[in-house]
Amino acid sequence: MTKTIIKIENLSKQYRLGTIGTGTIAHDLNRWWQTNILKNPDPYLKIGEANDRAHKGMSEYVWALRDINLDIKEGDVVGIIGKNGAGKSTLLKILSRVTAPTTGSIKVNGRLGSLLEVGTGFHPELTGRENIFLNGAILGMTKAEIRSKLDEIIDFSGCERYIDTPVKRYSSGMNVRLGFAVAAFLEPEILVVDEVLAVGDAEFQKKAIGKMQDVSQNHGRTVLFVSHNMASINKLCPKSIILKNGSILSEGKSNNIIEEYIYDNLSENTLNDNIQSKDGTVKLVKITINNGKKLLTGKKANFEFDIYFANLVKNPAFIIAVKSLSDENIIFLSTEPISGHYVGDCKGKTRVSLSIESLNLGAGNYLLYFGIALPKIQFLIEPTKVCSIDVQPFDVYKSGYHIHNNKSLLTIDHSWQVKSIK
């Protein structure tokens, strides 16, 4: 059995909303009186509310985190997902000891390095080299450690030419590269990473993700990783946790967790009945998927969209797209220009049907998108999530083997030939 390396027990964090001024003095004095003189529990801990950012609440105290219990084992790479304000960053901040919890505790076994931002403490007047030392020391490295890795860091950052120039002359991308390069050579047993990979160009992101994978897989370190990018969560983290309004909604294998997270968001948004143009004159009325039958891998599929046009619309183009749960485009079709199907004018009730001869998608869940474009590249309805679709497994290759989308998003007609050659 592997050791527990982080143990979170009944962790809660309360925040006070609004500004600090004369009003807070009264609360501070009352709290001090109640807890230090009367030895009562803090009166303001009782009145907090769950942290739901969109709705007006009664209390000025909210719980950014409420009763979090979590065990993280040595070597685990755990993704933390959740909407804005779900408490992800608060959790990381408490773990990084930037702020303390209100109640509860976290026990950690080993050196913990956190990366809530890259290039923390860079001084604009100092050169890249000087900043590597400064930033490394802030992250907890000793000078000797940094010196021994200096060449690797400079090489990884790809800023060799600028290394003796003050960082104020750097482009923002170079700043990030240098910052991440320092952090990449941090060697704690536990690494806590907030969404820092979202910056930098594509080449660098790939490099950064690669480095993270290397750290977690080859060096057996424990990593906690917050991201909104489901694709990178899926790639890096075998396990995930969903946070919702300050509590853990569920935890488990990343595949399942990501699906659950997306379903949770879908059901909240009730997208189905609310797809219309900005002025409300064009509206999606009804959708029918495969005449109510199940979608099967490699089989015929049919999508019907009923749209109501209140006014005459000239030459609309209909868009139907399928994306993976991590929002990668898989299929993108439009009447014009992609399929070259001229629609003409539309008014009143209109039915758009899309027939697919063979639905070459691995079994699993996908997202269906719908939109309407007008000539001159302008959207009447921007491609919008309509619903999720569930493709059932089917023995497309006639081998008894089912293709699931965690193995392969696509299926394809193919044949093999294996023979010895001279």
Partner: protein
């Protein structure tokens, strides 16, 4: 039961110095000092020479106004030596105080992203100011040496044995600045009122320190008030050590030491209490 190396809890003990961890971060302390010292004079030609210009100009200005116009005596020293000694000492204390009192607000950006023992920051400020003080002290020594060699002044500028107290004086000043600065920085995280108070208080306190007048010049009740200022004993001892003129008493110096100890204790306790959650209120 497993052993955990770190436990993150809501509140810490009253006085949790965590010296072991602070020692681990000594390289950071050094790099902060270097940053503060180097960064100020990047992109200047004269560099640290600017450290000379500030006290010289201030002293010359005071010489004209307080000595030539207001005719305030200078204990028989060459006026430039008198004013320079006061300014060099006062500058160190006041810049320690003003810089450290801004610890939490000025570093919220870093503190909000990374953990390291917070006390490193005010410590680094006190040390980098010490470097500046060293440069300015050498300026004072040059001026003092010059007047000692040409002679012809009322006091003969022969140093007394009290000159060996200089390191003690520096430690007391650093402690006073650090203690008060930590206290104020902790208080300003939530209520900004103290920032306004501080600018005023530092100005006022300079006039309550024998920088532009000798302690022997004031009498009666005023003298007692000025002797309540812990900086008084320090400036006077410094002058006495180098020139043999002025006031020196063990009581005055002892008072400064006790004051410093109390301030350091209070500052550390309050700083400790605030450092864990200040990010929520700053």
């Amino acid at each position: 039961m497993e052993n955990y190396t770190l436990e993150i809890k809501p509140k810490s003990k009253l006085l949790d110095l965590n010296l072991k961890e602070t020692w681990k971060y000594r390289d950071l302390l050094f790099l902060f000092v270097r940053r503060d010292f180097v960064a100020i004079y990047k992109q200047t030609v004269l560099g640290p020479l600017w450290f000379f210009i500030q006290p010289i100009l201030t002293s010359l200005m005071q010489l004209v106004i307080f000595n030539n116009i207001a005719k305030i005596p200078v204990d028989g020293m060459p006026p430039l030596v008198f004013y320079l000694s006061g300014n060099v000492m006062w500058q160190y204390f006041s810049s320690c105080l003003t810089l450290t009192s801004n610890t939490f607000r000025g570093n919220a950006g870093i503190f909000g992203k990374v953990y390291f023992p917070r006390v490193i920051t005010p410590l680094s400020m006190v040390i980098s100011q010490l470097l500046k003080f060293g440069v300015q002290l050498s300026l004072f020594l040059a001026v003092w040496g010059y007047f000692m060699i040409i002679g012809g002044t009322e006091v003969n500028l022969i140093p007394s044995w009290h000159i060996v107290l200089l390191p003690v004086l520096i430690i007391i000043m650093a402690g006073l600045g650090l203690g008060a600065g930590m206290l104020i920085s902790a208080l300003t995280t939530k209520y900004r009122d103290f920032t306004f108070l501080l600018t005023f208080a530092v100005q006022l306190m300079m006039y309550a320190t024998p920088v532009i007048y000798p302690l022997s010049f004031v009498e009666g009740k005023m003298k007692q008030i000025i002797m309540l200022n812990p900086m008084t004993g320090i400036v006077e001892t410094f002058r006495y050590g180098f020139t043999g003129a002025g006031t020196f008493s063990w009581e005055l110096l002892g008072y400064s030491i006790v004051f410093m100890a109390v301030l350091m204790f209070l500052g550390t306790v309050v700083f400790n209490k605030v450092e864990k959650t200040f990010m929520d209120t700053v």
